[in-house]
């Protein structure tokens, strides 16, 4: 159960961080007219196609005591980043980035441009237009982004193993725990954890699809 709690904590932190940093990135990707935008779009989508081990490997190298991030971390906090919970959060943020950013881009782009024009001619700058118009009308996308990055982080394995290792209470998440149980032939224990993860994942996805099918919305669709 410690592993489940740790996974939840990790997933919630990652989802929270991704909403905060994902929004400006998604805003820029949705509205910029820069021709080289596709480069950043590709970069954001990279974790979707890379094996988690590749991402985990580079994250580990960067976070190691001789890597740039690791050095910076040691200078700031006096200890390394690899094999810590903070390191795990950082790597997971990178790994789940597209799961947060892509639904945000899609929902920002879905807002009628004339509403943004209307906001502008009524005297609102970009920031006010974002808070008063784009964000409220993108709520299903925001919910999707938060929930998907939460769920994706909950189920990650490769990156955690590379960056976090397997320290009980620090970096041993549910997926690692299940793997451990299987390795020790404790199938009953593994099944219990796996089932919990399965149910949570199904519930989360049902919620996302319900929101996007407008089964549940904050206001009438029209």
């Amino acid at each position: 159960m410690e592993a489940l709690w740790l996974s939840m904590k990790l997933a919630a932190s990652v989802a929270g961080i991704l909403l905060v940093i994902g929004m400006p990135v998604a805003y820029w990707l949705a509205f910029s007219s820069w021709r080289g935008k596709f480069l950043l779009e590709s970069l954001v989508a990279l974790p979707l196609v890379l094996p988690p081990t590749v991402l985990g490997f580079y994250a580990l190298v960067a976070m190691g005591p001789r890597g740039p991030l690791g050095k910076l971390w040691i200078a700031l906090f006096g200890h390394g980043l690899a094999f810590t919970f903070s390191g795990l959060i950082l790597a997971s943020v990178l790994y789940s980035f597209p799961f947060a950013v892509q639904p945000l881009i899609a929902s920002f782009e879905g807002v009628d441009r004339r509403l943004l024009d209307a906001s502008a001619v009524l005297g609102a700058g970009s920031l006010r237009t974002f808070w008063r118009v784009i964000l409220p009308l993108s709520l299903p996308g925001v919910v999707t982004a938060a929930v998907l990055s939460f769920a994706h982080t909950l189920g990650e394995f490769g990156v955690v193993l590379m960056v976090g290792g397997n320290l009980a209470g620090v970096t041993r998440t549910v997926s690692i725990d299940i793997y451990d149980h299987v390795q020790s032939l404790e199938y009953g224990e593994a099944n219990r954890m796996a089932l919990v993860l399965l149910v949570i994942s199904f519930a989360v996805l049902s919620f996302v699809y319900a929101v996007n099918r407008r089964v549940w919305t904050p206001w009438p669709a029209k």
Partner: protein, 364 residues
Amino acid sequence: MLRARIRKVRHSTGASSFTLDVSVEVSPGITILFGASGAGKSTLLDCLAGLTRPEEGRIAIGKDVLFDSAAGVHVPAPKRRIAYVFQTLALFPHLSAEENVAYGLRDLPEAERRGQVETILQAFRVEKLRRQKPGEISGGERQRIALARSLVTEPRVLLLDEPLTGLDAELKAAIVDDMSAWNAAREIPILYVTHSRDEVDALGERVIALDNGRVVSSGVPMEVLNAPRRKKLAQAAGFENLLSATVLDLREADGVMRVRLGESAACEIEVPLGYAVAGSRVQVAVRAGDILLATERPRGLSARNVIDGRIVSLEQRGTMVIARVDCGVTFVAHITPGAVRVLELTAGRPVWLVLKTHSCHLVD
């Protein structure tokens, strides 16, 4: 006074591009911007509002320069204080009518803001809808709320892009009255896009006619729309008969020329003298309401054009009957149901059409 000189190239899909190249002056009061769809009306409004940046030109309200390509000035839309009511209205769907109207008033103290919102909601007779969302109210009420939302900000110029499309005449007239009443005290320039002839007649003090990105004429509505110089404009201004013709001869002394409509020799009419030579092709535009129908050959008329033909069809539309008459070319004439009854008009019956020379307009 709003003065603008704008050149804006719009690249559409494919290789074609559209160039808006106009110079307009909008003085206080309502000026109609008239033109067929695709003429560049919305592009012009977008440039004025600051939503689109022109390649070249200058836009100023009085002495205040909003855009000047030469000086590198481009005041962004939120700072222009130009109100713009879009064709789609663009009411915020997640905000109530009241919140929509208050949207542009954020710099005011709460009490004052509430007072102003209340006043404008009453002026446009929508105070009962203040808590409703745009999705829950009717078309005409939405249009009123969109107007109220724009006007409550006390703009320096008002741009209206077909804001009353789809409303019946009575409702339109009521909204137009409310808007005129609002502007009576303020006298700001209002640029009103429409291609409805009724709205032009009801509102227009001045008209600017746009075609293919150029101003083709401007002035008072009677001059601009009753003598359209371009085919597209003629169609848009409600000239039901647009016929191609060949010039036969010019009679400068009488100020007229004779033209043959279509290929039939029987159908020759006199039209006002235009820039043409014998043998050249011209377009003649005639309003269906300007054509008289007679069941016998009329005599002793000042009208110079009497053409014989046969009724092809009669179609009743409200209080009007649309008669199609074959005279070698087909004319459309509007007559009253009473006339149809008294003259016993039926399809197949021979009739004579009477056209005044000056009801026949030459268009390019």
